[in-house]
Amino acid sequence: MQYKSQAVAKPYFIAAIGLFLGQILFGLIMGYQYVVGDFLFPAIPFNVARMVHTNLLIVWILFGFMGSAYYLIPEEAETELFSPKLAWLMFWVFLVAGALTIVGYLTVPYATLASMTGNDILATMGREFLEQPLPTKVGIVIVALVFLFNISMTVLKGRKTSISLVLLLGLWGLAIFFLFSFYNPSNLVLDKYFWWWTVHLWVEGVWELILGAMLAFVLIKITGVDREVIEKWLYIIIAMTLITGIIGTGHHYFWIGTPEYWQWFGSVFSALEPIPFFMMTVFAFNMVNRRRREHPNKAATLWALGTGVMSFLGAGVWGFLHTLAPVNFYTHGTQITAAHGHMAFYGAYVMVNLTMISYAMPMLRGRSANSRSSQVMEMWAFWLMTISIVCITLFLTAAGILQIWLQRMGTSPMSFMDAQDQIRIFYWAREFSGLVFLVGLVLYIWSFFFKNSEAQAAE
């Protein structure tokens, strides 16, 4: 840790992991509700648990991105953060706003929450991933703007590297596309069309820029390969990301009322979307093989390689599985989508955050890497969580295929609920995998509390 203002990243990482744990707990609740329908009903109906699960995911990943930026930008710009005080303030504003929102979901019926929080003035609630009340949405915009002001000023007064530039582009893009969540027309087709501008252009557009920048930074630090080579690859990868990802939004415009040509544009360009993820995997392994130094933090190296592989599998392969229009006609709105969602989100955005946390946390605590035993524990956590997500995805894929076969194929298709009853076994298996994931996460958290007597001195 070369600059003391990088320390502001620590609370962000701690909050991120805390919310991550919350997200997994609610994921387990929902997983159990899939098999025991009235579990915790009416205290926590499924839709409330889902809101908490998805919103905690997005909030903790945003905490992770912000923490990573606060760690990475000063080191890249070779200057102190513009205003650590502002960073601390925003941390508390965002944490309190997030916590209040979650409490609001859990304690008050959603309709009452809506009327209490001015949803009648400007209706932006009730849409997937964007269920936050208006004050929370406005709070997110404020936090994002102050955060962006803080790190942009730091870069402006310091060294400008490609990595910090790409990270800024990604984060500014994130803030700009979030503004579409305030646009909620009464025409459902228009509402959905621009809803995807927030959701898709986030996770298959600007977030991949953030992912690329964070991965490039960690790889430079771990492998010691010179910056020029890594930044060259970074630009090529994110060029392919935007070239394929922007028009790739079309794979969401097959069945929502938009014209038919989207089926051609959406299929063709989203079929190319796995290419940047494949290049990122080749890039990660290539850099680690050509490393010029043996970095003591083996766990972070494993996370970095894992990010490449799992994002290619989850977002690339599982995405391609159901992105072509003729296939999507049958898989749209089934468990196949949920399977892709789990592995893609974990493989790309959860793992890159854990890569950064695994690399930066020892630094923030004054050593270049944790002790051997702590790293072994962290690697156990890596494999438990990763294999568990692979299992969840496989089980949900099987469930999805059976669901399609029973509910949408053949001459006598089953009703939704009858089909769901036929695939309960996969939901049980998914729930069990979720428990394994929880064990992995607990081990991951525990690895931070290992005694680090024999750890190396700070770099």
Binding site: M125, I243, I246, F254, G257, P259, P413
Partner: protein, 141 residues
């Protein structure tokens, strides 16, 4: 991969490619917004449909159901439920929740009055008439 490809050129391709395809995306969006009126029968959006959408959102139905295939996969697709079951069944079903059957998936009771139930049905009826390139594959949705 030494100087055979330079970072400057890679950066140019990133900016050129991003701007190019974003412009193409805007052009396609412009065409879509122009063509949509002929596909989504927006002339049938009555006040009741608008109120229905508001009720749909403020009860977070998307948290369990899918609408035109997008949402949660816990409960049936409702984009074509009006065609599958008809308005009266929908109203009766919403009023009759939760079933309380042990172990079954439960839908909360939203205490909607008759006006709100009619608005909800109007919204679901309008949604079922959008030209979705004949998705879903069958009436089960």
């Amino acid at each position: 991969m030494n100087e055979t490809f330079t970072k400057a050129m890679a950066r140019n391709i990133f900016y050129g490619g991003a701007v190019f395809f974003f412009l193409l995306f805007l052009a396609l969006t412009f065409d879509t917004v122009q063509t949509l009126p002929k596909r989504d029968h927006r002339e049938n959006i009555t006040d009741s449909v608008v109120r229905g959408k508001h009720i749909w959102e403020t009860r977070d139905c998307i948290g369990c159901h899918t609408l035109l295939g997008e949402g949660a996969y816990f409960a049936p697709e409702l984009g074509n439920v009006y065609k599958r079951r008809g308005g009266d069944f929908i109203k009766m079903w919403i009023k009759g929740q939760p079933t309380g059957a042990p172990g079954r998936r439960q839908m909360p009771q939203f205490d909607l009055n008759d006006q709100q139930l009619d608005d909800m049905v109007a919204f679901l009826k309008w949604t079922s008439e959008i030209n979705t390139n004949n998705w879903p594959p069958n009436i089960e949705g």
